[in-house]
């Protein structure tokens, strides 16, 4: 693995974090220095750079980002909000399609869109255009991944499945208690009541809860979803602070 150059990695599909880690280790052991020469093919559409630090890759500029925001909305605040939502959608889309490098590919997709806008291209439906670019980026990534899919998938599946358990002494439990206590009493009641019981009884409790709150079941779902997301964010922050 150590002797695979960046370009070879691109053309032969060794472009995954797993093999990147191997190359880093090999470089550290001085088996073979990692080639730092930029790939001349990175400029072309249809080729995913091995990392975003390539010297020949187009770099987004503040002007290009302004053009993107302008294309989203004339109102800068609304454009920023749209950008965040669009970025979130792009990231989820890539993940739901089986990509575990959502952050990097999202950046690549936005870079390509900003590059086109910066070059003066007129895009009528920016959201659809971004989706199309994201599909191409995903296709390129899947093509590279599939060339080593049998080996990579086996490793990833085994590792991830074993890490989903939560032990009784898991710090998440204590963090969750703290975050739950930080909710308003009503929100706390809603989320606990919503997730209590199972199957038929759960459905009935949710109907009663929605009626008690005077909202539709769908509204209840959305509200619980937001409370849950807030709890997850809180637990994540608390967990990070606890570990630190």
């Amino acid at each position: 693995m150590a002797i695979i150059s960046r370009h070879t990695r691109l053309t032969h599909g060794y472009n995954t974090p797993f093999f990147d880690s191997l190359v880093d280790v090999a470089s550290f052991l001085a088996l073979q220095p990692t080639e730092e020469k930029p790939d001349p093919d990175q400029e072309a559409e249809g080729s995913i750079p091995s990392d975003s630090s390539s010297t020949q890759e187009w770099k987004p500029t503040p002007e290009a980002f302004d053009k993107l925001l302008d294309a989203l909305s004339p109102d800068r605040d609304k454009a920023a909000e749209e950008y965040e939502i669009l970025r979130r959608k792009l990231h989820r889309f890539l993940e739901w399609r089986g990509c575990d490098e959502g952050d990097r590919l999202t950046d690549i997709a936005f870079d390509r869109v900003m590059k086109k806008l910066d070059e003066g291209k007129s895009i009528s439906n920016l959201t659809a255009y971004i989706y199309t670019v994201a599909k191409y980026v995903l296709m390129e990534w899947l093509k590279l991944r599939d060339q080593t899919s049998s080996f990579t998938e086996t490793i990833v599946t085994v590792v991830e499945a074993a890490q989903l358990d939560v032990e009784e002494d898991d710090p998440r439990i204590r963090c969750f208690d703290e975050c739950l206590a930080a909710l308003s009493s009503e929100d706390r009641e809603v989320v606990l009541e919503y997730y209590t019981a199972e199957k038929r009884e759960k459905i009935e409790r949710r109907i009663r809860l929605a009626a008690k709150l005077g909202i539709s079941q769908n509204a209840l779902r959305i509200r619980v979803h937001r409370i849950r997301r807030d709890l997850e964010i809180c637990v994540k922050r608390y967990l990070g602070a606890t570990v630190t």
Binding site: L164, D165, L180, L192, E193, E198, H225, E232
Partner: protein, 354 residues
Amino acid sequence: MALDTDRANLTRQYLLGVLPPEDAARLEEDFFADHEVFQEIEIAEDDLVDAYVRGELSENECRQLERNLGRLPRVAERIKFAKVLERATRIASQPTDAAGLDSANKLASVTEVAPKDDTSEPEHLFSVKRDGKKDYRGWKALFASWSVPQRIGALASAAVLVIAGSFLSLDWMRLRGETQRLIAERNELQRRNEAIASSTEDERRRLAFEKKNADAENETLKRQLEEARNSSQVGTALSPILLFLYPGGSRSPEDTESDLTLPARPTTVNLHLALEADNYPKYTVLIKRVGGPKVIERSGLRSSKDKSNIVLKLQLSSSLLRLGYYTVTVSGLRPPDEPVLVASYSFRTIGGAD
């Protein structure tokens, strides 16, 4: 916008990664264009994760979720959160107690700030109180109560102790090695002393034995000499006469006269001539009367050891001797060289025939 059952199934299949590509593309176009559709899919992800945690998915669906979403760090964390949430709701759904608290209020009372029984909690490095301050337990509480300078001093003292201990250990090991080496040397010296003592004892015994033999031989010669003297006086004994001469004519280093008493009847005279050194393989002995002819000359004589003396021995008849003074010369022979005078002796005969 309510999500109908068909849409819910489509969404679930999409999240599990088993939706046909065309349907998946349509769904994606929808949620990219419509925020509410996107939110519905996110909520569907919540429901799917909950169903997975509560065991409401089929085995096949579980594998699909683990393969498609479970390996994503974000979803893995969501699954763990869902398990924690399920645990909390399970506790909250415990039967009401005597106070009549319903599930929500009971969990609310549990999660409110309340002193917890230390014996019911697992021992942690620290626990975070409601006010954010850390609560140290056990021996760590003692350390936590110290000020920073005290902690630094304690650490420095501990470091000094460790370093000093290390040096002492090294020194002890060195001394131990030195002690072992000295013990080995002492044993070696003892062994050598014993060997030397043993050889010295052997040498002493050998010398004692030789001295004993020499003393015995000396006694024998004295006895013979006495007998010879007695026989020469009464005329009956014919024992050989021993005449031992040192260079210069003395019979011993202390004696000044070398007299030979001639017997009345002829007898053998054993003449022993002491040599100071034995430098020649053979010798010639010439006996001559002073002012008279040569008495006897013997060549090819070899030296011999007599006790601690090197001597030349020869025998002659006493009848060859008359009263008077005689000289004896010894010459060393080393062919083809000429004889070399080695020593000269003298003696006087008394008594006997003229």
